[in-house]
C-alpha cells in the first residue's frame, strides 16, 4: 500500500503536463498518451549501443501520434511539442529535480510524511558524443507497472521455482566463476600488450619460442573452454529471469549473474581479437628485426647529411615536410588545462593595489646615525679655491660668476659652490682675508640674479 501510494505520487509530473497543456498550446493532444509513446521510445533505445534515445527518435515517435490527432501540425509545432515534453520530464534538462511529499503508514500504525527527489528523464552523452535521453529507474518502474500484469497470481506460481533455484545457488556460483574468468582475460590482454611493447623495442626480450608461444596456445584454450560454458549459462539464466516479475529480488539476482557472465563473454571476445592481432604483429616483428644490427642508427652529419638536403628541397617539398620538422625544433609546451577556479580568481582579482601599511608599526629599538652625504667634496672645494686664487684681488660677484660659468658650466657643482660660499664672505672674518661689500645695485648674469657684491682679497689671505 505504501509502495503504491509513492508510485501514485511519482506520477505527478505526468498529471501536471496534462493539466497545464493549455499553457503549452497543446490542447488537442492527450499528454498521457504522448508521454507513454515517449517513454516507450526511450526505454526501447536504452538497450542499444548509444545507451539512450536521441531527440530524432523521440520526435519521430511522438510525431506519428501527434499527426494522427492533428494532421495539420507543422514541423515546428511538432518540435515545440516534443521539446516541451522533454523539458518538463527532464526537470528543465537536468537543472532541477521533481520533489514529492507523500504519507505512509508505519509498522506501528502511525501516519508519517516522507519526501523524495527524483527525475524521470536524464540526459547523457553517448559513446559517439551525441546527446541521448534515458529513463530513470523511477520512470521505468512507473511505465512497466502500467502494463497491467496480474502480478500477484504470477508471483505465487513463480515463488516455488525461485525457491528451488535459489536454494541450489547455481546462478550465484556461475556469476562468481564468470567474474574470475573475466579478470583473467583482462590480465591476459595486459600481458599481450606488454609483449607487443617489449617486442617493438627488441624481439629478443620476449623469448618468443620458449615463453610466448606456449602462453598464446594456453590463451586460445582458455577462450574456447569459457565460450561454451558461458553461452549455456546465459541461456539458462535468461529463461529463468523472464519468468519473474520486474522488481523482484530473485529476478535482480538472476539478471546480475547473467550480466556478469555476458561481460565475461565480451571480455573473452576482446581477448580473442587481441590474441589474433598479437600473433600476426609478433611474427611481423620477428621477420623485420631478424637481420637488424641491434645498434641504434648513427646520427647524421648535421651539415652535409641534414642541412644541405633540406636546403635543396623546393618549396612544395618543404611545405610538406615542415609540419613534421617544426615540432622537433620547438621545445615541448605544457598543455593548458581549463582550471576554472584559477581563471575565476584571476578575472575577479581586486583592481586596487593593496598597500599593507600600518601607522602603528613599532619603532626600532636600535637606532644608528646614518652618514650624511656631503654636497661639496674636498676635491671640488680645492678646485674652486684654486680658481679664486688666480682670479684677482678685487672683482665683482657678477664677473666672478661669468668667469665660472665659462670655465665650469652654468649648472656645474663648482658654480653651485661659489653661489653658496661667496655670500658668506659677509661674515668678514679677518683670518679669511676675503671681504664682500654690497655694491648697492642688482645683477643678473649666468642664470643668477641678486645684490651685486664687491669682493676684495687682502694680501694676508
Amino acid at each position: 500500500m505504501n509502495r503504491r501510494a509513492k508510485n501514485l505520487a511519482l506520477m505527478k509530473p505526468f498529471f501536471d503536463l496534462e493539466a497545464n497543456k493549455a499553457l503549452a498550446d497543446a490542447r488537442p493532444y492527450d499528454m498521457h498518451l504522448l508521454c507513454s509513446v515517449l517513454m516507450e521510445a526511450i526505454i526501447a533505445d536504452m538497450s542499444g549501443s548509444s545507451g539512450g534515445a536521441p531527440y530524432s527518435v523521440i520526435l519521430r515517435e511522438v510525431s506519428k501520434i501527434a499527426l494522427k490527432v492533428n494532421p495539420q501540425a507543422t514541423e515546428s509545432e511538432l518540435d515545440r511539442l516534443t521539446s516541451h515534453l522533454i523539458d518538463h520530464l527532464s526537470s528543465q534538462r537536468g537543472r532541477d529535480h521533481f520533489e514529492i511529499t507523500y504519507q505512509v503508514v508505519t509498522p506501528e500504525g502511525d501516519v508519517t510524511r516522507l519526501s523524495h527527489a527524483y527525475r524521470l528523464l536524464e540526459q547523457k552523452l553517448s559513446p559517439e558524443d551525441e546527446l541521448v535521453y534515458v529513463a530513470t529507474p523511477e520512470a521505468i518502474h512507473i511505465y512497466l507497472s502500467g502494463l497491467g500484469h496480474e502480478l500477484e497470481a504470477e508471483q505465487a506460481a513463480n515463488d516455488a521455482i525461485l525457491e528451488h533455484y535459489l536454494s541450489r545457488g547455481k546462478h550465484k556460483e556461475a556469476g562468481e566463476a564468470a567474474e574470475m574468468a573475466r579478470k583473467r582475460s583482462v590480465e591476459l590482454r595486459a600481458r599481450l600488450r606488454s609483449w607487443l611493447i617489449a617486442a617493438e623495442r627488441s624481439f629478443e626480450e620476449i623469448q618468443y619460442v620458449g615463453h610466448v608461444l606456449p602462453q598464446l596456445t594456453e590463451m586460445q584454450q582458455h577462450i574456447r573452454a569459457r565460450g561454451a560454458i558461458e553461452q549455456r549459462q546465459i541461456e539458462e539464466l535468461q529463461s529463468r529471469a523472464i519468468q519473474l516479475p520486474p522488481g523482484d529480488e530473485g529476478r535482480t539476482n538472476l539478471i546480475s549473474a547473467r550480466k556478469a557472465i555476458e561481460e565475461a563473454s565480451h571480455e573473452h571476445t576482446r581477448l580473442l581479437t587481441d590474441l589474433q592481432q598479437c600473433s600476426r604483429t609478433l611474427l611481423d616483428f620477428q621477420s623485420r628485426q631478424r637481420f637488424r644490427l641491434g645498434d641504434s642508427p648513427a646520427m647524421p652529419e648535421p651539415v652535409t647529411e641534414f642541412l644541405h638536403p633540406v636546403l635543396a628541397l623546393n618549396l612544395q617539398d618543404l611545405d610538406r615536410g615542415l609540419p613534421r620538422l617544426l615540432p622537433l625544433l620547438l621545445p615541448p609546451r605544457l598543455p593548458m588545462l581549463p582550471d576554472l577556479p584559477v581563471l575565476l580568481d584571476a578575472l575577479l582579482a581586486d583592481i586596487r593595489v593593496v598597500m599593507d601599511r600600518s601607522e602603528l608599526e613599532p619603532l626600532s629599538e636600535v637606532t644608528e646615525d646614518l652618514p650624511v652625504a656631503k654636497r661639496f667634496t674636498p676635491e671640488l672645494c680645492a678646485t674652486v679655491d684654486e680658481f679664486l686664487q688666480n682670479f684677482g684681488a678685487a672683482y665683482t660677484f657678477s664677473s666672478l660668476l661669468e668667469a665660472a660659468d665659462k670655465k665650469f658650466g652654468r649648472h656645474s657643482p663648482e658654480m653651485a659652490y661659489l653661489t653658496v660660499m661667496v655670500p658668506q664672505w659677509f661674515e668678514n672674518e679677518v683670518a679669511d682675508g676675503r671681504f664682500a661689500r654690497p655694491a648697492c645695485r642688482q645683477f643678473e648674469t649666468a642664470g643668477r640674479f641678486g645684490d651685486e657684491l664687491e669682493i676684495t682679497m687682502s694680501r694676508t689671505a
Binding site: G51, Y55, L59, S76, D79, R80, T82, S83, Q92, R93, G94, R95, D96, H97, A117, R119, E122, Q123, K124, L125, S126, P127, E128, D129, E130, L131, V134, K183, V186, R189, A190, R193, S194, I197, A198, E205, L334, P335, M336, L337, P338, D339, L340, P341, V342, L343, L344, D345, A346, L347, L348, A349, D350, I351, R352
Partner: protein, 240 residues
C-alpha cells in the same frame, strides 16, 4: 625494474596523457578504453596512475565508467590558464564582467547542490543560450536593488554587476551580453567542458561531466558565497 613494471609505468603515463584531453572519449579511442578498463580493475595500476599524475601536479577524478577520467590541476600547478589564454588585452572592468558571467553560468547550470549531483554521475545538464542571457540580464538588474549582495560581493564586483545590467542582452556586435556568454561557452567548448548540439531548431549547450568537476571546485573556492547566492536566484527563477 622488471619488464612488467616498466610496461605498467608506460601505460599509467599513457592513460594520464589521454585523460588530460577532456574531449577524448572511450568510444573513439580503443587504447583509452583498454587502459581505463585496467584502471578500474587493477588496484595497483590505479595507484600507479594516480602517482604519475601527482608527480605531474595533476589530480585524477573518476567519472562514470562509460565517460572516463577527469584530470585537474593541483593548486599552483603549471597547467593553469592565464588571462591571455582566456582573452587577451582586457581592461579591468571587462575582466570583472567576464569573471562574473563565468560565475553566473556555473550557478545557472547547477543552481542547487542537488543539481550538481555526484562525481560519477554520467547525466549531463543542457541549457539554451537565450534563456541564460535573459536570466543573467534580469538577475543583474535585480542585484542593483538587493541589499544582500553586499554580503557576497566587493564594491568592484557590484560595479561589475551594474555593468552587466547596462549591457544590451541581444543584438549585433560585441557590446551585448549574448556575445560575451557565447564567447565563454565557445572557450569552454574548445577546452572540452561544454558541447554544442542542435536539437529541434534550438541550440543546446551541454555541460559535460568534466564541467561538473570544475563547478564543484568553484563552489568550494574563493567565491563560493557569491556562487551560492547566484544559485539561489537561479533556483528561485526556476521555481516561479
Amino acid at each position: 625494474m622488471t619488464n612488467d613494471q616498466t610496461n605498467a609505468l608506460f601505460e599509467a603515463a599513457r592513460l594520464v596523457r589521454l585523460a588530460i584531453n577532456a574531449r577524448e572519449t572511450v568510444a573513439r579511442n580503443r587504447e583509452y578504453q583498454q587502459l581505463l578498463q585496467r584502471f578500474h580493475t587493477d588496484p595497483e595500476f590505479r595507484d600507479l596512475a594516480r602517482t604519475v599524475a601527482r608527480g605531474l601536479d595533476l589530480q585524477i577524478f573518476e567519472l562514470a565508467r562509460d565517460v572516463g577520467l577527469a584530470v585537474v590541476n593541483v593548486a599552483n600547478g603549471p597547467y593553469a590558464p592565464t588571462l591571455d589564454d582566456f582573452r587577451g588585452g582586457m581592461r579591468a572592468r571587462e575582466r570583472i564582467v567576464y569573471g562574473l558571467l563565468l560565475a553566473m553560468l556555473a550557478a545557472y547550470v547547477y543552481p542547487t547542490r542537488r543539481a550538481i549531483g555526484e562525481l560519477d554521475d554520467s547525466s549531463v545538464v543542457s541549457i539554451e543560450l537565450r534563456s541564460l542571457v535573459e536570466w543573467a540580464s534580469t538577475a543583474a538588474r535585480e542585484m542593483r536593488q538587493s541589499a544582500s549582495v553586499t554580503d557576497v560581493a566587493s564594491p568592484e564586483l557590484r560595479s561589475g554587476f551594474e555593468a552587466i545590467a547596462m549591457l544590451e542582452p541581444f543584438g549585433d556586435g560585441h557590446a551585448t551580453l549574448h556575445y560575451r556568454f557565447r564567447y565563454i561557452l565557445e572557450w569552454l567548448g574548445k577546452n572540452g567542458l561544454f558541447a554544442c548540439r542542435e536539437e529541434g531548431g534550438r541550440e543546446l549547450w551541454i555541460a559535460r561531466p568534466h564541467y561538473r568537476i570544475q563547478a564543484r571546485h568553484l563552489m568550494l573556492g574563493t567565491h563560493a558565497a557569491l556562487l551560492e547566492w547566484l544559485g539561489q536566484r537561479a533556483a528561485r527563477t526556476e521555481g516561479s
